[in-house]
């Protein structure tokens, strides 16, 4: 798990927030919600992979 992970996830979050605001202000609330959901799914996919590798590393480190 690299330090850049925090900034990657935060960058995706900020991008999604900006797009969300743009879409809401142009009257497209459903598309804004879908953008938020898509961003959330992308972030969760990245995180699940990284957390799985973290748990593997913990198991290897402690011999569990």
């Amino acid at each position: 798990m690299d330090v850049n992970l925090i900034f990657q996830v935060a960058a995706i979050g900020i991008l999604v927030a900006v797009l969300n605001q743009l879409l809401i202000r142009s009257g497209r609330e459903e598309q804004a919600m879908m953008t938020t959901l898509a961003g959330l799914i992308v972030v969760m996919m990245i995180l699940v992979r990284e957390i799985s590798s973290l748990f593997e590393l913990i198991k290897r480190t402690f011999g569990l």
């Binding site: 690299d2 925090i6 979050g13 900020i14 969300n20 995180l47 957390i51 011999g63």
Partner: protein, 130 residues
């Protein structure tokens, strides 16, 4: 070690600043950032924990203790920390019920890990008493 702690502190503060921006606009994505920050902190902590584990194993062997007895202790510590982190993340997201459920699961998992030690202790007591 002080520099390492300083690095972790700066990393945590960066994550808090980013979370401050995200919580106002997209609260749903603030929790994954918080989770990513916790994961990165844990991964940076692992080499230090490995050094600590090796040193404690060496001391236990030098004292003539069975190092196999420490495995349940390490498992329970890991379960406790994962449960604590997960519960606090749930509370950050406003889900106290979910946090309580996770804590209950963590308690049950820790009890299951400790059972072999408890059985061994009871056998020892039985052998002494017999």
């Amino acid at each position: 070690m002080t520099l390492w702690m300083g690095k972790l502190l700066l990393l945590s503060l960066c994550a808090v600043c980013l979370l401050g921006v995200l919580k106002g606009k997209t609260p749903a994505l603030a929790i994954p950032v918080s989770l990513a920050a916790c994961g990165v902190l844990l991964s940076l902590l692992l080499p230090t924990l490995e050094t600590l584990r090796a040193d404690l194993s060496g001391m236990a062997q030098a004292a003539g203790m069975d190092t196999g007895l420490f495995a349940p202790v390490v498992k329970v510590l890991a379960i406790t920390e994962v449960t604590h982190l997960g519960a606090e993340l749930c509370r950050d997201g406003g889900e106290k019920g979910l946090a309580a459920g996770l804590e209950l699961c963590g308690t049950a998992a820790a009890l299951v890990c400790v059972l072999p030690l408890a059985k061994k202790a009871l056998e020892l007591i039985g052998a002494i008493g017999a």
